[in-house]
Symmetry: C2
Subunit: 197 residues, 2 copies
Amino acid sequence: MVRNSNRRSKVVRKKLDILRGAAAAFRARGFDGAGMRDIARGLGVAPGALYYYFRSKDELLYFCQDYSLDHLLEVGRRVSGARLSADRKLAALVREQVRTMLDELQGSSAHVEFHGLPPRLLRRVVAKRDQYEAIVRGIIGEGIRTGTFRKVDAKLAALVVLGAVNWTVRWYRPEGSLTAEVIGGQFADLLVRGLVK
Amino acid sequence: MVRNSNRRSKVVRKKLDILRGAAAAFRARGFDGAGMRDIARGLGVAPGALYYYFRSKDELLYFCQDYSLDHLLEVGRRVSGARLSADRKLAALVREQVRTMLDELQGSSAHVEFHGLPPRLLRRVVAKRDQYEAIVRGIIGEGIRTGTFRKVDAKLAALVVLGAVNWTVRWYRPEGSLTAEVIGGQFADLLVRGLVK
């Protein structure tokens, strides 16, 4: 059993490496413009080596979404249940989402492009996205109830937060001067400040 | 001359009608998933009628970007030069961008999908996007200088604003209960409030 789980985590690590490498190809050609061959070329491996881990771009896309959403849901639930005020919860979650998207996935636009998925996989991803959005909305709602936040529309406020954060994959460059930590810190500050009384 | 310009504006109006109609096909299938035939079917016209106005999806995409950016640049320059405080300028610009994207273009994701464009057209669109971003950044910088806004990184703050607004095309539904006006008003409030001292 230990051996199996070790091997599984090794495969996951390898898949994450590929995902990070693929991010550059997506940036250069757009998610739809970059084929499996471009991704393999960018990684410096033969297409066959890539197909060993992902049989198609859909599989790569699904893995990226599923992996990052599982992680964000776990963090979201932990932060949500922590003994913190709502403004601190929201700031922590924004920072962690930026870190996940820009550091761990290297700003891969695969995180936000999910229209291409086959219906069965798309439904699973959309369900997890809805859960994550509900967590963000829940923290904002809590802040409104406890008087930390102004009386705003929690749904629209959550969409402001998620939109600003998701959009980072459209302009972030790992080789640029801004680190994920700096971006996450400033985003958390600006977005939370817009809500506090 | 009058006749020519009338005909031109009639063509532009017709093209805008098509763009609004195409938005529904993009929402249902994603921008890359929707072909010219899907767009024509959604509009209830023969593909030939569609090809009369746009020879390809690239042309439709370019027209959408170019038209909306020209309009936003004009509004941006006017708002930027107005005798208003920076917070009012930014609020006005956010409201107008939301209105343009969600009302005038019916939340068409063609406004934000531009990776597919051929290099020559892509360069023009990117140049106009850069100009618009510079206007938003300029208003934020002005607010910092005049003491209306806190001392934040104007570049990152502009990206928070533009990200939240651009992301609306991913979730907006014209048949939903939220109007572009309500969304624009709440977004302006939340985003400007994050900046004020």
